[in-house]
Symmetry: D3
Subunit: 123 residues, 6 copies
């Protein structure tokens, strides 16, 4: 649940300070399951996502220096969260299966009809 | 899509300026259908709701003098929209069936799991 | 999945022959549960509903003499199905608990945002 | 996410040990909002619900002596959770607004189409 | 909200004139975001989609000469809308980012459980 | 609606006998539509899926010898159903279009937020 404003005529009334609730889905893909029968430890994946979202939640993103000069659109934020989840996977934070994950998709739902996602391979 | 902040320790991090997307449902009840077979003209009901939401959308509600001294919680906003829809019904803005509507419910969905509603009879 | 057309300027382009998919929910209420711990036999309730919907599905409702002179709006059809379900409850078709059901609600979802319902007590 | 079995021919294959995921919604109603603008403290309400569900989750309900001789149907479990939430409200566990809550509804969603609820006044 | 009928024994009762509501999702993909931080202008994308759907909505598709000799199944209509959206993208109707879009997916939801999609690269 | 238990500390309380409801979606992909305008016969696809699910539904999967030594996680079960659907497609059970299907995706929804899928080409 964040506040922000956008720069550019393209955005019409969204140039004013407003806000949004994002519901965030993360999808992790690996070619084969490991011996436990799971992609990763869903408990650790959930903890990692909550930690990442905790850095953004209940804030005015216009005040976050990490986003200076950027429009924090849904598309942009999907990319930010993608990179932060990817970093944690590379550090092995999702447990033993972390290094088997090959692809990642992060979707931000703005409402029941609008969403944006960033999808890609892990380098 | 609004920005706001709350006053009171109860609200924890939501005391900071943040934001929310609300998906708004309006439910209108009447005892019997009229000759056309509809509760009201759904086109006019949609127009009325869009007009009411347009007064709130893409704004920082902390700056709206109508809400001075109030926490613009989901519950509170459901009540605000309830009153504004009720006024338009009383003025006959939803077409011929307007005066047959006896009950109204306004629901604000904050996310796919959290919502608040105001429900009541029309005076 | 029905075809129909509406009469009256109120309906704009819906005066032309068009169609709709309705997803139908039925809600049955009784004051106390019976010894089995269910409101009614959900298998028999589902069969009854499928039988009622089978009388309407894949048809042009403009050709159904039961609806002559009526607009088969979502509201109207919710009432039709309400009456047909109520009749089956009175005949005991939902099993031993049928006579304990006191209230019924039939909801027709036109899409993910629009729906109409008929709700009432059983006589 | 519970395991259980039912007794009675009515239940067909559900007489075998099987299981279910329930998504649980709780709705609290009060006539007027308090000064903070909320029905109750949603954080405390969520904690209370999680505590109640923690007593049931990841268990075989056939082994729970509290339910001996009962079919732990969706309807029955909605009633169990209703009573346990009502007890916590009476004890003031949802914060200052607890004693203003007049009605409660507990809904258990079995799937995207099937659900059961217990709804009632608080004594 | 369209009416239509299908030819072929495969379709059973759907050979009769009936109808359907389709909820249409369009997904646009580009490799990198542009300077504004959006894939395309969502306002212009929505206008384009509404214009395309306006050519089909509230009609009996059996009477549309563009579909003569074809079954206007959900799959087929997803392809029709895909081509019409693709044409508008090629003409630059979605704003400055239009020529960066590389892939398109059009999904038609028939109900909460059934859908069909056409997905492909833009030539 | 199945019962099962998992082996491994990773699973915490899910090592106890518990259960789950899975809502199962199957997605079939082919490069071009056939003359009827459908991917496959949806009636036959639904029958095939119901038959496959009937082998699993209302059972304790810990007792199924086909799964001996395996954790019947959501991911694992998605793979099991994928293989069983793929076998039926190869045998032509979904009608004339069966041999045109090139890709298959099977998704098991555990709840409104958690799901797992197996996606792949048909050999």
């Amino acid at each position: 649940m964040i506040a922000h404003s956008f720069k550019g005529e393209l955005f019409g009334p969204a140039q004013r300070l407003h806000g949004a609730t994002y519901v965030v889905d993360v999808e992790l893909r690996r070619p084969e399951l490991g011996p436990e029968g799971v992609v990763v430890d869903i408990g650790r994946a959930t903890d990692a996502l909550e930690s990442i979202l905790g850095e953004l939640n209940f804030r005015n993103l216009d005040d976050d220096s990490a986003f200076a000069g950027k429009n924090t659109t849904t598309e942009f934020l999907a990319g930010v969260i993608f990179e932060r989840v990817a970093d944690r996977i590379k550090r092995g934070e999702l447990g033993p299966g972390s290094n088997a994950v090959r692809e990642l998709k992060v979707t931000l739902h703005e409402s029941h009809v609008a969403w944006a996602a960033r999808e890609g391979k892990l380098g």
